[in-house]
């Protein structure tokens, strides 16, 4: 029943593109990055992500994004991007003293 493949030199096949996978494990939580899958179209990417990352019912929602679409901050710029926030300690609740007898604040 199996058709014979004629033997001939073939150019190496293109790889299935890489997609990043985000899972929301239950309502109320955010999507979390869990890893990546290879797939040749978005339907296949969702199926692959489902088969790989939600086998044990770990998800109510899946996002798949082509890895090439992800824009990441440059870790070398981490100092410029993130350090200034360290100085703005007034953004943190612990900066403020509230007398102990005042509740709910």
């Amino acid at each position: 029943m199996m058709s014979d493949t004629p033997k001939k030199a073939k150019a190496p096949s293109k790889e299935w593109p890489l997609w990043e996978v985000f899972v929301r494990s239950k309502s109320g939580l955010s999507h979390r990055h869990v890893g990546s899958v290879h797939a040749s179209d978005s339907a296949l990417a969702i199926e692959a992500a489902r088969d790989l990352y939600t086998r044990r019912q770990e998800g109510v929602s899946l996002w798949v994004v082509p890895s090439s679409s992800i824009v990441a901050s440059d870790p070398d710029e981490a100092g410029n991007l993130f350090e200034p926030a360290k100085d703005k300690i007034y953004r943190h609740p612990t900066f403020y003293s509230i007398p102990k007898h005042v509740k709910h604040i």
Binding site: M1, M2, S3, W16, V37, H38, A39, S40, D41, A43, L44, E47, A48, D51, L52, R55
Partner: protein, 251 residues
């Protein structure tokens, strides 16, 4: 409605799932991509689970100290009731996809109808299996289209595969006397209705896949009478070997 007739019907349902599940499990570790190893194993696991439920129910109806395993591992070919389609070899991946598409398109309609069976146990099993098979159909349909509308080679292989499987599709809708009796009692669905829906779905998918619907051909049937293709004997030899070699042992 006699328990025996229902038991036979449950075996038919279970045997379809079991033999197809067994075939799909042969791919594990050998399929074209790891991602496909995962998907095909999923399908196989779902089907084996269905087989356990349907055969378990059949055993319960028959009593006589039977169970799902005695039915699966100790019946010979003449007592298996599955359709011939599910016995066909995996072949190249196109044959696996064609077999799966034709079967899942049928099974999803069958299970949908079984959800309203007058037999509450069958209805319950169908309700659970329905969700799984919706996914099987989506998988098979998507791959039929990917391969049909992929490369020249994949189109050629897919066309050959659907033609090879076509002669086994008539049997899916065959209602023998047992089935007619079960239909009359509301236990089993009307396969003529299902056939019309199946035809429409197949036409739609084959068109999208740029494949040609095969012409009418002489149907090959006989599963419910225990007259199978040459493949079932080999499938059972492999599947049943341990239980046959060590009769009565516990595993």
């Amino acid at each position: 409605m006699s328990a025996e007739l229902k038991a036979i019907y449950a075996q038919y349902l279970g045997d379809n799932s079991l033999i197809l599940g067994q075939r799909l499990s042969e791919w594990c570790g050998h399929s074209p991509a790891l991602e496909l190893d995962m998907s095909l194993s999923n399908l196989s696991l779902d089907l084996i689970g269905q087989a356990q439920l349907f055969l378990g129910y059949s055993a319960q109806l028959l009593g006589q100290d039977l169970d799902e395993d005695k039915l699966a591992f100790l019946r010979d070919v003449m007592d298996f009731k599955n359709v011939l389609l599910v016995e066909q070899p995996n072949g190249d991946f196109a044959h696996t996809v064609a077999r799966q598409f034709f079967f899942s398109a049928f099974q999803s309609l069958e299970l949908e109808a079984l959800k309203s069976s007058t037999d509450s146990e069958l209805a319950a099993i169908a309700a659970k299996a329905s969700k799984e098979v919706a996914y099987h159909l989506r998988f098979a349909r998507d791959w039929t289209i990917r391969l049909g509308d992929g490369t020249e080679e994949s189109t050629r292989r897919m066309q050959t595969a659907i033609e090879d499987m076509w002669r086994f599709t008539d049997e899916l809708f065959h209602m023998d006397d047992t089935h007619q009796a079960l239909l009359a009692d509301g236990v089993a669905p009307d396969l003529n209705t299902i056939r019309a829906q199946w035809d429409a779905l197949v036409d739609e998918v084959l068109a999208e896949a740029k494949l040609t619907r095969p012409g009418p051909c002489r149907p090959i049937m006989g599963g419910r009478e225990g007259h199978h293709s040459e493949h079932l004997g080999h499938i059972l030899s492999e599947m049943q070997y341990l239980q046959r070699a060590y009769p009565g042992a516990q595993w």
